[in-house]
């Protein structure tokens, strides 16, 4: 068995999600290869060679892959696929965008966001907003799988020395073009990898109040998340939404402030190690899963928290 892991990157830096995805591949067992499809992405391939357990890095470096459009990357992966038993990627927005195209081209069903590897053909995943665990078996000759990164502890990213092999296959479609992107820059830890996450909900009332969470986050070295209500109300940008349709986090400490705890939000954070809820409404659902609950006006609580931590 040989497993191909498609990694995410911005042509300069390899995403940390790569080491979680390789961890899932290692659980399946077999030789692990990495595909870096990008443009001017030599440094990414170099970083990928150092990930523990990886024996080969395939580098497809062409302007066609600069923005990893699925119309170009999926046929590349499909063309490479005959050598592999499994094709994996992280269940990030990029992985979710590309992998189903690969699966359809190979005429196999995909398994989305696995949370565990039971055997080389059996996996667990969550359905119904994380309220049901399904065990899924695949009979596909090539298994196409996305991986929920928080469910797999990352392997080390130093020490290994895989070889780099250049792939010269180029697919350049005429149906789609990259136009532009607007990236949200932040000095804080990346949300899905942060040890502490502080999240605000509708209870924050406005975006100025929401910014107070950042001051507290900076003191704790935490990342800031938001509920859908807070994002929809314009308090926060959508890229920090946590939940069924946003990001999935499992930090050491999750502090939910002014969040009621709808099923859709819990889907994104209920695997956190310690959950703290601060809410004025003592009947809020979030208290049913919080390790420590504080029924209090959240602005008063915030003021005190800022002083005490």
């Amino acid at each position: 068995m040989t497993i191909l892991v498609i990694v995410e990157h911005n042509n300069k830096v390899l995403s940390p999600s790569a080491s979680n995805t390789v961890a899932a591949a290692a659980k399946i067992g077999g030789d692990i290869h990495i595909l870096v499809a990008g443009y001017g992405a030599g440094s990414v391939a170099e970083a990928a060679t150092k990930i523990a357990g990886v024996s080969k890095v395939l580098l497809a470096d062409n302007v066609a892959y600069a923005y990893q459009l699925p119309e170009n990357v999926a046929p590349l992966v499909a063309e490479l696929s005959s050598d592999y038993s499994h094709i994996l990627s992280a269940a990030t927005s990029n992985g979710k965008n590309i992998l189903p195209c690969v699966a359809a081209q190979l005429d196999v069903d995909q398994i989305s966001e696995i949370i565990s590897v039971e055997s080389a053909n059996t996996f667990k995943r969550l359905i119904y907003a994380g309220t049901v665990v399904a065990t899924v078996q695949s009979t596909a000759a090539i298994k196409v799988i996305t991986v929920r990164t928080i469910s797999f502890n990352p392997v080390t990213t130093t020490g290994a020395s895989a070889i780099i092999e250049t792939v010269s296959i180029v697919h350049n479609n005429s149906t789609s073009n990259f136009v532009s992107e607007e990236l949200v820059m932040s000095d804080r830890p990346e949300l899905t990898a942060a040890k502490i996450v502080i999240s605000g909900g509708r209870g924050m009332q406005n975006s100025d109040n929401f910014k107070r969470l950042y001051a507290l986050a900076d003191k704790l070295g935490a990342a800031v998340g938001a509920s859908r209500a807070a994002v929809d109300a314009g308090f926060a940008h959508n890229d920090i939404q946590i939940g069924q349709t946003g990001k999935i986090v499992a930090p050491q400490l999750y502090i939910a402030i002014g969040i009621s705890g709808a099923i859709q939000h819990l889907a994104g954070m209920k695997d956190s190690k310690v959950i703290v809820a601060i809410n004025r409404d003592e009947t809020a659902l979030i208290f049913q899963i919080a390790d420590y609950g504080l029924v209090s006006d959240l602005f008063e609580a915030l003021l005190e928290l800022e002083k005490l931590v």
Partner: protein, 249 residues
């Protein structure tokens, strides 16, 4: 131009589902069903395109049991022109769904196909992408804004680190994110009018499409239950517990 919208009948998003005692699936008997929220957004976007004079006809398609007619009628009441139900009572994988949708698309030749980014039951997030791969059309997934410019469509996509804009040549496939729009409600006169609109029913056999699958769900179970902890009285007590008991700060 003709716009296609695929919708799915799913358990209402407010329902807490129960796993069957034999672990064969989720108990859907007497559970409230609704249109998948992302599909509602897809229908709304098609209607807005029609109101702008971009779309000329909206065809809404669903694959499911005969009861899925309710969701198709709901879409017709919102403003879709006609509906197609591919009647099939069992479970279908995303690939089988995409194959069936492609069969209808081949026949009807829409310029734009809009789907939700994921169904809230299977949480697969696959069908739109698979459909794009099968049809060879460009894909604009997780769309928060779309704009048709002649023979192209510009799609603003929600990505992990912000937003991205891609331009697709029509015909194209779009999948909706929650931020694309706010769906409207159907009015009573429109619900009455929707009853007269055309709703055609076909079966996978008639379309000649295989629904065979390489995936099999062998067990479903409830996840480990996380129980409530303790209530603290003050922020000081909370900080003390986090430092000394949980040791997380």
């Amino acid at each position: 131009m003709k716009v296609f919208v695929a919708i799915k009948r799913v358990v209402d998003h407010n329902v807490k589902v129960r796993v069957k005692a034999d672990h064969s699936g989720v108990d859907l008997l007497n559970v409230k069903m609704s249109m998948n929220p992302f599909c509602e957004i897809a229908v709304e976007e098609a209607i807005r395109l029609k109101e702008k004079g971009v779309a000329t006809e909206i065809v809404v398609v669903s694959i499911g049991p005969s009861t899925a007619q309710e969701q198709l009628r709901a879409a017709l009441a919102l403003g879709a022109d006609r509906a197609v139900l591919i009647e099939f009572a069992g479970e279908l994988t995303s690939l089988a769904t995409a194959r069936l949708l492609k069969a209808i698309i081949d026949k009807e030749q829409p310029k734009l196909v809009i789907l939700g980014k994921q169904a809230i039951d299977s949480d697969n997030n696959q069908t739109g992408q698979m459909l794009a791969a099968l049809t060879g059309y460009g894909q604009g997934t997780f769309a928060s804004k779309v704009k048709v410019n002649g023979e192209n469509i510009s799609v603003t996509r929600e990505i992990d680190s912000g937003t991205q804009i891609v331009s697709l040549k029509l015909p194209a496939i779009i999948t909706t994110d929650l931020r694309l729009n706010e769906p409207r409600y159907a009015t009573l006169p429109n619900i009455m009018k929707a009853k007269k609109k055309l709703l055609e029913t076909v079966t996978p056999d008639v379309l000649g499409i295989s629904i065979a699958s390489t995936n099999k769900t062998i067990k479903v179970e409830a996840p480990a239950v996380r129980s409530a902890g303790i209530k603290v009285k003050s922020v000081a007590e909370l900080v003390e517990k986090l430092k000394n008991e949980a040791k997380v700060i």
